[in-house]
């Protein structure tokens, strides 16, 4: 992974996504092989050093929040790093603003919606100002509006952080630089999204199901389009081209 890259990770449940992301920040130790973060840090040896630079967002927003109050939870990572209080206040405020949760400081975390909880978790990670973000299926427990909320906030971070994003929703990875396909603990492919989406054989072999829009485009012989409007525009253009030609 290069700095600033946005990399997707896909594959069926049990394919190794979670294991991979946990090895990267030292929650699990590899049996063999070598991991280096930022050129020199080995998460298996110096997990705490690595975690200063690697922020991790988990699947279940319910089980990642430590403190009963939003503000305290966002500060948790900073407390662990021993950041001074004045700086901490500032960074908590900035982080909360960057996920659109101003005014939520004193709310109790358990009263929030899934999307809001996940944004609190994201704020807690951003407050630490990591270089690398690891996202382990951050939207899989959310409903459509919760997903949108979280994805919008992640979208802004593209290019600013190195991002590794594991997900079941392929349409979330349209803008990824490349996608890693994991199967049975092995890297089955490492390819750009367009090529993966248009390779029906590779998709089927790895039990990947493309989102409706992509499948629709594929069935009609049209290259992947990311929105219903774009797909409809392409269809209409082809029809017009035929009728006028």
């Amino acid at each position: 992974m290069r700095a600033g890259e946005y990399i997707g990770v896909v594959g069926e449940n049990g394919g190794g996504k979670s294991t991979l992301v946990r090895i990267l920040n030292g929650l699990l130790k590899p049996e063999s092989g070598d991991v280096r973060i930022l050129g020199g840090l080995d998460p298996a040896v110096e997990p705490f050093e690595v975690r200063k630079h690697v922020g991790m967002l988990f699947q279940n927003p319910d089980n990642g929040l430590v403190s009963p109050f939003v503000e305290d939870d966002v500060a948790f990572g900073l407390e662990n790093l021993g950041v001074e209080r004045d700086e901490m206040r500032e960074r908590v405020r900035d982080a909360m603003r960057s996920v659109g949760l101003e005014g939520y400081e004193r709310r109790e975390t358990h009263t929030l919606s899934g999307g809001e909880k996940q944004r609190v978790a994201l704020a807690g990670i951003l407050a630490v100002e990591p270089d690398i973000l690891i996202l382990d299926e951050p939207t899989s427990m959310l409903d459509a509006s919760g997903r949108r909320e979280v994805l919008e906030r992640l979208d802004v971070l593209r290019g600013k952080k190195t991002i590794l994003h594991a997900t079941h929703h392929l349409e979330e990875l349209f803008d990824a630089d490349r996608i890693l396909v994991l199967k049975n603990g092995e890297l089955a492919a490492d390819i750009p999204p367009e090529r993966l989406f248009s390779d029906g054989g590779l998709m089927r072999k790895n039990r990947l199901v493309a989102p409706t829009l992509l499948r629709l485009a594929e069935s009609l012989g049209i290259p992947p389009r990311r929105s219903a409007d774009e797909l409809a525009a392409e269809i209409s253009n082809r029809v017009r081209a035929r009728t006028s030609g």
């Binding site: 946990r22 920040n25 991790m56 988990f58 929040l65 430590v66 305290d72 021993g82 358990h110």
Partner: protein, 261 residues
């Protein structure tokens, strides 16, 4: 729909803004005073102070009444026990084998009032102090014990997490009960053994779920750089100001005067 954590009542009274450590120590002071006072006037003084603090806190009386409900049975029992079985001073009245003595009634009333005031002073603390501040205060007060290897940070962290997860587990228990009821489980029928048996389908998923949560929480905490209390700073500031000192001194004076009177 949140019911709020613990018994905290958000507000801006002078009591709310006191340092939690001062409030914890003051509560301890009240408890000591209530045990030490022997005379009626001493007791009256402490009682008057506690009751006026209730007013100062501006927490609705209904909240305190709710607090007292669970102990009301014990209070009533204490009073009756004293009134019926103590044989001091003059007989107030006799009714068959039952004779009630003046000393019994006054002792009973005294004990009952003591328990009520104990509970109220504890309620005063939890109603005016956010749980997070409470755990911070406790951690701080216990920190001298670190020298004898008492895990004060860990104890406080445990309390914080418990506070955070009580509502979550409560929700989960509701969900599980509904899921099992949908499968024909009955929780309110049958004898004791049947009822205990009926709990198993709730307890197992709840326990399994709690362990899963604990695992995920541990992952999240570790990945956010948590490694115990060493080298950790605190977001919430505990500042012991002059007013906290004065408040404590006031409670100390009340306790001493009450004990001497």
């Amino acid at each position: 729909m949140g019911r709020g954590i613990g018994q905290f009542y958000p507000g801006e009274s002078p009591l709310h803004t006191l340092d939690p450590r001062a409030k914890i120590l003051a509560s301890v002071g009240f408890v000591a005073a209530l045990f030490l006072v022997g005379s009626f006037y001493g007791f009256l003084l402490v009682a008057a102070v506690v009751l006026s603090l209730l007013a100062v806190s501006r927490v609705p009386a209904s909240a305190f009444i709710r607090f007292l409900k669970p102990v009301s049975f014990i209070v009533a029992l204490t009073f009756l026990f004293q009134a019926l079985f103590s044989r001091e001073r003059a007989v107030l009245f006799e009714w068959g084998w039952l004779s009630v003595y003046e000393g019994g009634v006054s002792n009973g009333a005294f004990l009952a009032a003591r328990i009520l005031l104990l509970v109220l002073s504890a309620a005063l603390l939890t109603a005016t102090t956010p749980p997070v501040a409470l755990t911070d205060g406790i951690e701080d007060l216990l920190s001298p014990l670190k020298k004898v290897r008492f895990p004060s940070h860990e104890v406080a962290m445990m309390m914080t997490i418990a506070l955070r997860f009580i509502p979550t587990l409560d929700e989960e228990a509701q969900k599980i009960m509904r899921a099992q009821a949908a499968r024909g489980a009955e929780f309110s029928e049958g004898g004791l053994i049947r009822r205990v048996k009926a709990i198993i389908p709730i307890l197992v998923p709840l326990t399994v779920g709690a362990f899963r949560r604990a695992d995920e929480l541990a992952d999240a905490m570790e990945s956010r750089g948590y490694r115990g209390g060493d080298g950790r700073t605190r977001y919430r500031e505990l500042r012991f100001r002059l007013r906290d000192g004065l408040a404590l001194a006031f409670v100390a004076v009340v306790a001493v005067v009450g004990a001497v009177l």
